[in-house]
């Protein structure tokens, strides 16, 4: 599978994502700079990394969401290409309008950096098919702006349509209904604050994140 990892000024998880994708798919992703206007031809997976794109100026993800490469990402998402946004990548996807809602400053104001428990709410998506329904997993989080907010109608719709992929099992950042990760309507765009790429090898403490990439590879291959 040909994949692409976007790189913005201030991204700092781009290489982590690239290592994870290569470890699972056996093929190194293209690293695509934000000034590019087109994804490489035949890109079958787009990954938007964590970090502090553009120094979080204006709002986290706001500037990155309007960078040239994101037009090509929106086109690809519209054609069904899987798009995975982790942490700052989730913020970029909401700012770009590819996912609903917004990620605000953590309710406790602190930067939260620790492993957290997650419940797999939807194990039918291309991203989560390797997990059991309702399974509890542990991924690390590391963010200041992970407080997911949307109006009640949007939250009801996300719940009703099975678009909440992951929920925190306890209080982490004030997110509405403990949302940790959501899918778009078509199910090919996932944004999540926790870092599956940091739970890949036994040396990371646990390997719960590996199955996200393995399931994705199986689903799209």
């Amino acid at each position: 599978m040909k994949s692409a990892v976007l790189v913005f000024p201030g991204s700092n998880c781009d290489r982590d994502l690239a290592v994870a994708i290569e470890a699972v798919t056996g093929r190194a992703p293209a690293m695509v700079w934000h000034r590019e206007s087109e994804l490489p031809e035949g890109t079958g997976l787009v990954a938007i990394p964590g970090g502090f794109s553009y120094g979080d100026y204006l709002r986290s993800g706001a500037m990155a969401a309007r960078s040239p490469i994101m037009r090509s990402v929106a086109d690809a998402a519209g054609k069904g290409v899987p798009v995975l946004g982790v942490c700052n990548g989730f913020q970029v996807l909401t700012e770009a309008g590819l996912l609903p809602g917004a990620l605000m400053r953590n309710a406790g104001l602190h930067f939260v950096c620790r492993p957290v428990g997650l419940k797999v709410e939807n194990s039918q998506s291309i991203f989560t098919s390797a997990y059991s329904p309702g399974e509890e997993v542990t991924f690390p989080v590391a963010h200041h702006d992970g407080n997911y907010q949307a109006d009640a109608e949007t939250l009801d719709r996300l719940e009703g349509e099975g678009r909440i992929a992951f929920r925190y099992t306890g209080e982490v950042n004030g997110s509405a209904r403990n949302v940790a990760g959501i899918l778009n309507g078509a199910g090919n765009v996932l944004g999540m604050m926790p870092h599956p790429e940091r739970a890949l090898e036994p040396a990371h403490g646990n390997t719960d994140g590996r199955r996200l990439f393995e399931g994705l590879l199986e689903a799209v291959a």
């Binding site: 909401t94 407080n147 949307a150 004030g174």
Partner: protein, 79 residues
Amino acid sequence: MKARVFVTLKPGVLDPQGKAIHHALEGLGFGGVEDVRAGKLIELDLAEGTSDDEIAEMCRKLLANTVIENFRIEKMATA
């Protein structure tokens, strides 16, 4: 021509920064503060003739995230 754009959180949206500022003010002994909401002020230096609609479009497309924020535009008299 200059314009000021005030970006504020919508009513009802929790404002952790405003809450922290509130607590800090109380810590300094200011007892009369009922609530604090923090926002942003963005000053634009614009070409003459920039329309109100264009400025509003800038707000909707970038300066404010209308999911959680409101904006107000204040055009400033030229000196």
